[in-house]
Symmetry: D2
Subunit: 139 residues, 4 copies
Amino acid sequence: MAENKMTKAELQERITLVPFHKWLGLNVVEMNEDANNVSIPCREEFVVNPKAGYTHGGILAAIIDIAADYALAAKIGAPIPTVDLRVDCHRPAMPGELTVEARPIKLGRTFSTAEAFVYDSEGALLASGRGVYHSQSGS
Amino acid sequence: MAENKMTKAELQERITLVPFHKWLGLNVVEMNEDANNVSIPCREEFVVNPKAGYTHGGILAAIIDIAADYALAAKIGAPIPTVDLRVDCHRPAMPGELTVEARPIKLGRTFSTAEAFVYDSEGALLASGRGVYHSQSGS
Amino acid sequence: MAENKMTKAELQERITLVPFHKWLGLNVVEMNEDANNVSIPCREEFVVNPKAGYTHGGILAAIIDIAADYALAAKIGAPIPTVDLRVDCHRPAMPGELTVEARPIKLGRTFSTAEAFVYDSEGALLASGRGVYHSQSGS
Amino acid sequence: MAENKMTKAELQERITLVPFHKWLGLNVVEMNEDANNVSIPCREEFVVNPKAGYTHGGILAAIIDIAADYALAAKIGAPIPTVDLRVDCHRPAMPGELTVEARPIKLGRTFSTAEAFVYDSEGALLASGRGVYHSQSGS
């Protein structure tokens, strides 16, 4: 697979340009040639169930979309538009920091695919998914 | 298909119990036996592209997940957990109010399926998708 | 949405060019500007459960992929490559003829989306799904 | 993750009970605690494009569904019904033997998730995907 075209600092800078990402609080923890790790602190607006306090599946879907996109961005040099997204919810996301690990599955000329896995602070898999992104959409 | 078990006011009340829904500003516009319509005002935290100002795909994914779930909730009497979600992005979501229409595809004993379509204020289809939800998950 | 660029006879002819379609026995029943209906007779090689005799989910997935693609082909003039596919299985497909109804969701310059619904001979919904297809892939 | 409950020979025997699998010609090549490998010889009925001779995406979807299901079956002791399936097509599948590698993502009480990757004889990734299966569906 292609080599990274962004450093960890460049990836973080690019992610933080986006108002929605700033609201989510995305923080690039690690980046290597195979995968990226991004952490997300809990926000009270994430909550779906006020008693249990766990995070809404829609937030998990958004995080998977973003992480998969930036796994491709690392290889391409810039994020690209989402064509479609698939998300599987495996366990309720209890309050606490989330981590998402994402990696490219296929870099293509027109379409690229990446997958992402969301974990809680103890390493339990909460959700996972994959998206197709439009590679040729220009800068 | 089964008759609705919730009125429009009950659906709105139930939706507004959820902190993430309150942040999104979901407003039930219409509800009948076939489908529900929910409107969402634009928030500046939704934005993915500060220049163009359009809404992040992750927000559209969250809206599709919620609307599809509540299309089932109308028939079942309460929202149920998301098992998985599929979202297709059709057009960039320019600034402005969004509307999402959702309807059940199949009500099942263990799992149920619903689909949702997100439109802009001029009726253009921005995104659509479908989810599977866990019917038997209790209260 | 664009007008059809193929007649029912042209659609049938185009479908039957494909060896896999011939094996499946696809027969175009109806075609209008909104949707197509294709019927599929049962084959013993379709079976997943020799006792109950019902059709394998993989066959339902293939039928949904094909029907959704040809719903786009009717508008574009030729079938286009599948980018990705989502299939939901709603009920076991007991022995008997299947019918699949498909319609475009969005015709785009680079990628297009369509959905399809598979019914048994009594009109019960067995499976449904949607696919993204590559519009610009040439002839 | 749970230990395997079937040997390679038992998995092969179970797979071959199914008429559709026999037609596909599925052959268990390798099985360990993490993943299974199944090979599929080419059949002329698989073909979508008579000139290029490549395999239909519907066949790839069926193979991904089956391989993901049997990755769960290895852990559970028997195959379980497909709830839904997501398939991504990465490259045209030229004539030749296919191999599919599948592994569980999450074993759950009610729903389980697995993913599968289809390769050609030179190791190029042709398609991949994931499915949700109904764990509690009895024998």
